[in-house]
Symmetry: C2
Subunit: 196 residues, 2 copies
DNA sequence: AGCTTTTGGCTAACGTAGTAAGCCACTGCG
DNA sequence: CGCAGTGGCTTACTACGTTAGCCAAAAGCT
């Protein structure tokens, strides 16, 4: 029997793709093995466990999403950058629901954890976006968490099929971005000094 | 052997409590049966499946959270109401992480689905909060979705153990509420007519 | 080339979890 | 008291994750 020529990266990538196709909860070791033309136990030569596989998929997804957002905000600032970042994240989630679902519900173990590294890097584009607003330095962390919460929340609900009645989600998304933009520019203590 | 005297409501309530204690993913039919002093298959006299159990726990949780938020905004309006609603939701999530986790990741099947009914009702307190702001009627749905996204996002990330460095999450939460409040009051097209 | 080492498949087997089938005692009503 | 129905039970089956141990293919060395 010829070898399949797998390696950890190939297994993780195939797992991410399969999760996007059939949904993250439906991603089992057996199905992934079948997809790869291999018996289930063979996967354990490349990943330590399903938990390990899931974490690697999550790290891959976070990295890809970070890159997409970083590319989207190139050459933009202020509201344009906010909009571009939010759209890029949303597009990623809609295009890769399985990957995104994989990123949810992990406790970051330590600073050496690849997922923690990816998570830390994922803050960078949002930090760049916030640089376009005139925030007090002490507020940067709060604003970062706010952005994270807001876009994570919207993406999760939309991906999970919430937002029933009417479902003009594109409009709602733009409205949400405007809301955040207005809120960021209306911060007290910085009256009217709109980035100048 | 004397009967345990179970009924669906008791099973669901015990499942919700157990999920809060040990985490929703760790809630298995076996563990719940053990908690109730009963063998696993006996549970199937009260719930159709684990999926059914989970949906019922989710419906219970949504109902309880809705009640808590509704009570919290009694007699309040505007920013006070927004704050109270957000705090009530956050408190619920932190006090009942298992129940909350149960509410995530369901596709609402039909209008008869109890979970869909509960979900529809859960919008009411937020609608009431928005009445305190001077929004265009066409924007109500957008604003509702925005509130849902924002508080869902924050609660999820906090419950999942995100928000590492510094972890002054209380402050961040208040900052987020202020951001939303400012954004809602700065809506264009309604200049300065602050609810009067 | 031929020998050796490592690697990446495999089969077999086990534990856990969800679930179906079917039995039988307890509860409650006439 | 007798009887119906409910709510326990045991047994059994399936799917899945995981481990152990075997063996051939690939890769490296002389």
């Amino acid at each position: 029997m010829p070898r399949a020529g797998l390696d950890p990266a190939a297994v993780v990538a195939a797992g991410a793709d399969l999760a996007d196709e059939i949904g993250f909860p439906a991603l089992t070791m057996g199905r992934l093995a079948e997809r790869l033309g291999v018996r289930t136990p063979s996967l354990y030569k490349h990943v330590a466990s399903q938990e390990d596989l899931n974490r690697r998929i999550a790290a891959l997804a976070v990295g890809e999403a970070t890159d997409a957002i970083g590319a989207a905000i190139q050459g933009r600032a202020g509201r344009d950058a906010l909009r571009a970042a939010a759209r890029a994240l949303r597009d990623f989630v809609l295009a890769h629901p399985g990957r995104y679902a994989a990123t949810l519900g992990f406790s970051l173990t330590g600073p050496d954890d690849p997922l923690a590294v990816a998570a830390a890097r994922s803050m960078e584009p949002f930090t760049a976006v916030l640089r376009g607003y005139d925030l007090a330095p002490a507020d940067t962390t709060h604003a970062l968490r706010a952005l994270r919460s807001i876009f994570h929340g919207f993406a999760t609900i939309e991906a999970g099929g919430g937002f029933r009645w009417g479902t003009a989600t594109d409009e709602s998304f733009d409205w949400l971005i405007d809301l955040v933009d207005l809120g960021l520019r209306a911060q007290p203590g910085r009256p009217g000094t709109t980035s100048g």
